[in-house]
């Protein structure tokens, strides 16, 4: 369980999440916001007052583990995973939805953690690269990436692997065209695409053999 003061972290100069620097202009500060938190899946809403900018108490489910923590609304899921939960497999790249380095699974589908606020992830299942490994044992997609030499510098690789996992959960036996479409949100600056596509194909076979 992680419960920290939401004011910590994300200080000036923080390269991840949403930096404070330059965004300090407050317009109409001091107004009382009306927070309406609806529990996921229920129709009822509980109304409670949240002073602006106060951290929200959220419960995040990451790789099956429940974390209760205080997050500021402006903090991205990418930032909270890395800086609050210490899960650094999810990489910051462009931080504006263009590269896929930060790909995680939300309810099993590939999403960009940089374009998701941590508060938005409440009530959803988040899976990161860490969750695709059993201890030191690589998962099927990781195995396939190693076998097919599907990387050079490796910076995009965590995102590629998570995106591939998301694709294979939706389409266990994808065609090359489906692989190209499914992986189209993940850029590789080293240009390892041909190997990546091969690795995804191989991973589909390994997953089948493993009975998943």
């Amino acid at each position: 369980m992680t419960e920290k003061d939401g004011k910590e972290g994300c200080g000036d100069g923080c390269p991840h999440g949403v930096s404070r620097r330059g965004f300090m202009t407050r317009v109409g500060a001091g107004t009382i916001g009306l927070g309406v938190a609806a529990a996921a899946g229920t129709a009822e809403a509980t109304v409670h007052e949240i002073p602006p900018g106060e951290p929200h108490r959220v419960t995040l489910t990451v790789n099956g583990t429940t974390h209760r923590l205080l997050v500021e609304p402006r903090e991205t899921l990418l930032y909270v995973l890395r800086e609050r939960l210490g899960m650094t497999a999810t990489k910051p790249g462009c931080e504006r939805g263009e590269c896929g380095a930060c790909t995680v699974l939300i309810d099993g589908a590939a999403r960009y953690a940089c374009l998701t606020l941590a508060v938005e992830a409440e009530g959803h299942e988040v899976t990161t690269l860490e969750g695709l490994t059993k201890g030191e044992e690589p998962g099927a997609v990781q195995r396939a990436f190693m076998d097919e030499d599907a990387l050079q510098c490796g910076y995009c690789t965590p995102g590629q692997i998570v995106a591939a996992e998301g694709l294979l959960r939706a389409r266990p036996d994808p065609t090359l065209e489906e692989i190209r479409t499914g992986m189209s949100g993940n850029l590789c600056r080293c240009g390892a695409y041909v190997h990546i596509f091969r690795a995804v194909k191989k991973a589909s076979v390994l997953r089948k053999d493993a009975g998943r």
């Binding site: 949403v18 300090m24 309406v36 500021e72 896929g100 938005e120 189209s184 949100g185």
Partner: protein, 280 residues
Amino acid sequence: MRSDLDYLVPSSVEEAVALRAASAGAAYLLGGTDLLPQMRAGRKAPGQLIDLKRIPPLREIRETADGGLSIGAAVVMADVEVHPAVLGRFPLLAECIRTVGAWPLRQRATLGGNVCNASPAADAAVALLALDAAFHVVSAEGRRSIPAGSFFRGPGQTALLPGELLTDLVLPGGAAGFRGRYLRLSRRKGMDLATVGVLVGKSSGTAPDRWRIGLAAVAPTPLRVAAAEERLEAKGAAAAEEAAALAVAACRPISDLRGSAEYRRDMVGVLVRRGVVELG
């Protein structure tokens, strides 16, 4: 992004509208694929985000009485592009949506956000214009319907009044049956906005055939070229050249990093002609 940013999660449209009316500096949030990067870049600085994604009616695709389809503003594009009714009756919409960003992005980016952001290059907007969609909106003052044709006012500018919330986008039954192509040029195949987008649609259900010509990224708003459509309806595909010239006359492109105005104008002509000939 403001350090005092707040995040609100209403569970009904009425609640969302009331929250928005209570705070002038608030913004509605759907997928955030336009809004969050704009906030990061300092181009927008709302004090509150009103997240609409947990309002059930905004997430539905419903059949309407006239054989049309109502698509909730919060439905993500990835769900629209594979929906059987969209593929069966309004394939032009799926054709345009499939070109947006990349698949993971479309699992987050909504149709409602695409039109509210009102980029001149909004790909889905071109299909909604061509299909005579109506945008249903609600505010504290009540409900109204805005035709797609009068919704887009300029880059980032729409007919929405402050606080108005788009609930759903309605495709009329009469627009069912158009098939066609969205011919789109971009610097790379995925994850890039269109340099030029040309939608050519045709419906053979009536005599004469009905045509649709839509343009993206070549004017301050997505466009529909009625003059070209009328010419094709009068003369058929033989008028491809004339339709292309009318489309070129209608566009008002700018030069930017994606292409020069001259290139864009030329490509509008080439792509309209190509699309019309292909649909014959």
